[in-house]
């Protein structure tokens, strides 16, 4: 599903964020990406949905060679990937409902279906009552849940989640984790960057640790492995 071969990423300002990443993530896997702040986790995720392109190396996602992708084709690859951005990336002038619905409008879903499905996922993340609020009127955790709702609404083949529980209280975090696990059971591949030790150590999955741009550990039912 995701195949990276000798991936290097140097940003235009000269910062090298990834150095020689080799990894294969299969269909239906659930993978935690852990590591200290600034290690390159977000960069790793951005390469998957092509917000960034590697400086060197080959990536394929869902059978597409991401590096060689024509501009015209990018949107169609992204549609199979639900992204929960670390900074949420909600459209500021659209309500919670409209933000989620937008992802469905993009793929030309009939309006009737959009209405039903959008309300359904907002209920799943516990935000049905905030459907008409603008992002600015929502708390950080609420915005994060809107971002989660948007990422899952189209039942994508892959979900890339960059600290999806970063702003949530423990109870809500567990709610979201149960949701992601359920989605994973139904066949969706999940790649999740996290700093949450408790979650990683309780809900045991494959753990990939990145430090200073390199993979330092890759365990099938791994542990978080860092203090805090």
């Amino acid at each position: 599903m995701i195949d990276m071969q000798d991936i290097w990423k140097t940003y235009p300002d000269g910062t090298t964020a990834l150095q020689g990443i080799n990894v294969v993530i299969d269909r239906n896997e659930f993978v935690y990406i852990v590591g200290p702040s600034g290690a390159g986790k977000s960069t790793f995720m951005k390469l998957i949905y092509r917000e960034e392109v590697p400086t060197k190396g080959q990536i394929s996602v869902n059978g597409f060679n991401i590096g060689k992708l024509k501009h015209r084709k990018i949107p169609f690859v992204r549609r199979n990937i639900g992204v929960i951005f670390q900074d949420y990336k909600l459209l500021p002038k659209l309500s919670a409902y409209e933000n989620v619905a937008f992802a469905m409008e993009v793929i030309e879903t009939p309006r009737r279906v959009i209405r039903r499905r959008t309300m359904e996922v907002l209920e799943l993340v516990g935000l049905k009552h905030k459907a008409n609020s603008l992002p600015a009127q929502l708390s950080g955790g609420e915005q994060q849940r809107v971002a989660i709702a948007r990422a899952i609404v189209n039942n994508p083949a892959v979900i890339v989640a960059d600290e999806p529980t970063g702003n949530l209280d423990p109870e809500t975090s567990w709610g979201i984790m149960k949701l992601l696990e359920e989605i994973n059971f139904r066949g969706t591949t999940i790649v999740m960057a996290t700093h949450n030790k408790e979650i990683v150590n309780t809900l045991r999955k494959r753990v990939i640790a990145i430090e200073r741009g390199s993979i330092v550990r890759d365990e099938v039912r791994g542990e978080y492995g860092y203090e805090i």
């Binding site: 949905y49 992204r78 990336k89 002038k93 409008e105 993009v106």
Partner: protein
């Protein structure tokens, strides 16, 4: 693209105008201001053209003959005038015809004053009305006709009139306006585009992030572009519709007086009815196109993410 998506783009286009609040108002204002200036100028230019045409068509030389000029002499003068290459037409108006016209032009009031003047004691001279091919040359033609007296011992020409001063200044003004008119219209259009594109640049900056997010969620360029396109059209249409309404309403009020006299000339202005369609139509079409153009270039730049 499915029909429901088209409908969605229209809905979003309309909603965006509301969502962008002040930005929409700023855009509408800049379109309104630009087009208003352009519209005022258009009305001016159209009227000047009309005035110039009227002056052209009215510009005529009157050649008055001495009272004692005989028929043979008059015919000789007519032939001489016709020989001037710039002359288009010469019409002889004999004194009884002249008196009849004079009485008519004086109306009821003049009837009393002119009573008693009939054929036998007609005080008016015979005359020619001379048209030139090019109305702007009538001064030149008039001079040549005046010069006939120099070779004529009887000096049969009493006076040559063509409303010298008034017509010459009028021609100067209309020519100037006609010539710089196009220049100014182009200049104003460029200024309007500049004003609008500045507004657009501000809009773009505000939307850059939104566009990049839309792309990350999997929207294609055309999907992103359409609502912007429609929003631009709405803003352009609203702005130009406002302009056209104010412009034409104002014109109607100001032009309640439809004619006046400049020197010898009777000038009719264009009625609201005559300019309404052209000016209103031009302003609205131009405004809508400007709006569409503006929003199209405003997104294009940020679509390559």
């Amino acid at each position: 693209m499915k029909f429901s998506t088209v409908a969605r783009h229209f809905r979003e286009g309309f909603k965006n105008v509301g969502r962008n609040g002040w930005m929409s108002i700023a855009s509408i204002s800049s379109i309104t201001v630009s087009l208003f200036i352009l519209g005022v100028f258009m009305l001016l230019a159209l009227n000047v053209n009309k005035i110039a045409d009227q002056v052209d068509s009215q510009a005529q030389i009157s050649v008055y003959l001495e009272l004692d000029t005989n028929k043979a002499k008059a015919e000789e003068i007519e032939r001489s005038i016709k020989r001037i290459p710039e002359v288009k037409n010469v019409a002889f108006v004999d004194k009884s015809e002249g008196l009849k016209r004079f009485k008519e032009s004086m109306g009821e009031k003049g009837k009393k004053a002119l009573e008693g003047y009939e054929e036998e004691n007609n005080p008016l001279p015979d005359m020619f009305e001379v048209d030139a091919f090019d109305p702007q040359k009538i001064g030149f033609v008039a001079k040549q006709i005046e010069a006939f007296n120099e070779t004529d011992p009887e000096k049969s020409i009493m006076e040559v009139k063509y409303g010298k001063e008034s017509i010459e200044t009028l021609f100067k003004i209309t020519n100037a306006i006609r010539n710089i008119g196009l220049f100014i219209v182009v200049g104003l259009a460029v200024m309007a585009m500049f004003l609008i594109s500045t507004t657009i640049k501000m809009t773009i900056l505000a939307r850059r992030r939104e566009i990049s997010i839309m792309k990350l969620v999997g929207a294609t360029n055309s999907f992103i572009r359409w609502p912007f396109f429609i929003e631009g059209a709405i803003i352009g249409f609203v702005g130009s519709f406002l302009t056209a309404s104010v412009l034409l309403f104002g014109y109607g009020k100001i032009m309640s007086k439809t004619s006046s006299t400049i020197g010898l000339y009777q000038i009719n202005y264009l009625s609201l009815h005559e300019v309404g369609f052209v000016v209103g139509g031009t302003v609205i079409v131009l405004g809508t196109l400007l709006g569409v153009w503006g929003s199209t270039i405003s997104v294009r730049k940020y679509l390559k993410v």
